[in-house]
Amino acid sequence: MKHLHLGLLTAFAMVLTAGCASGPPFKEYMASATPPAADQGRIYFYRTSTAGAAVQPQVMLNDESVGKAVPGGFFYVDRDAGDYTVSASTEAKRSLEMSLAEQEEKYVRLEVKMGFMVGHIKPVLVDQSVGKEEIVTTKHAGE
């Protein structure tokens, strides 16, 4: 009976963590990262919530796929200064419109929202102070 309980607990834990980011932790990964070029800025994307773990849509930056919204995961891209639209589609598309300046760092939190059939991912621009604090709990989820 004890073994059965242990087995069930293990299976439950596996289900919960399945699909979560498994790369190096943020600090470890970023220790070897190079800064963006002088005429570029950096956009960090991260998802702290494990709710709706099965929902992992592609994250689009101006219609270019830049990564996946993996629970507990982060990734970043360096881009020229300018205006950008971030979106992630499931049954509905939610977007974020933002600008990026040279040498600027922007943090985009990927929030899970209730949907009619499946959850939605809503990209939300957060303060640097908030982003820096939250992103350290995530692991790299690059492709």
């Binding site: 205006d83 639209t85 939610r94 419109e97 621009l125 303060d127």
Partner: protein
């Protein structure tokens, strides 16, 4: 397959109620006929001495933090648009838009969204701030 009429009606009622609730829950953007002009005088700035809570219909409430510095980035007929390097301002509705605050006579009267060249009006909020000063940055 037969559908229980009661279940069907209940489902339809739920759907109609959800649609009614969802409609109008998006921040109303007013498209401007004018474009943002560069600040009229030397760029101005102020430091917020007390937090200011901004609330627009259909958008998440936003609190401008005490101690944040705000720089004038442009002029509209309705007021001056300020942005901060210390704080991100967004209109957080169904979609999210990075924005500036629209200030007239030291009251925030709306958000300015550069990507759509529109504003979202709010109930005016008085700012307790340092005096406007010339930007030295």
């Amino acid at each position: 397959m037969t559908v229980n009429p009661y279940t069907y009606l209940r489902g339809m009622k739920l759907l109609v109620c959800s649609l009614l609730l969802l409609s109008g829950c998006v921040a109303q953007q007013i498209r401007l006929s004018e474009t943002l002009r560069p600040p009229e005088t030397t760029s101005q700035s102020f430091v917020l001495l007390e937090p200011a809570s901004l609330s627009a219909f259909g958008s998440r409430r936003q609190v401008l933090r005490e101690g944040t510095t705000w720089l004038a980035v442009g002029e509209l007929d309705r007021g001056t648009v300020f942005k901060s390097k210390n704080q991100v301002v967004t209109v957080n509705s169904y979609n999210v838009y990075e924005a500036g605050i629209l200030v007239r006579e030291m009251q925030v009267v709306g958000y300015y969204i550069p990507s759509t060249e529109s504003i979202v009006e709010i109930d005016p909020v008085a700012l307790k701030s340092s005096e406007l000063r010339e930007n030295t940055e």
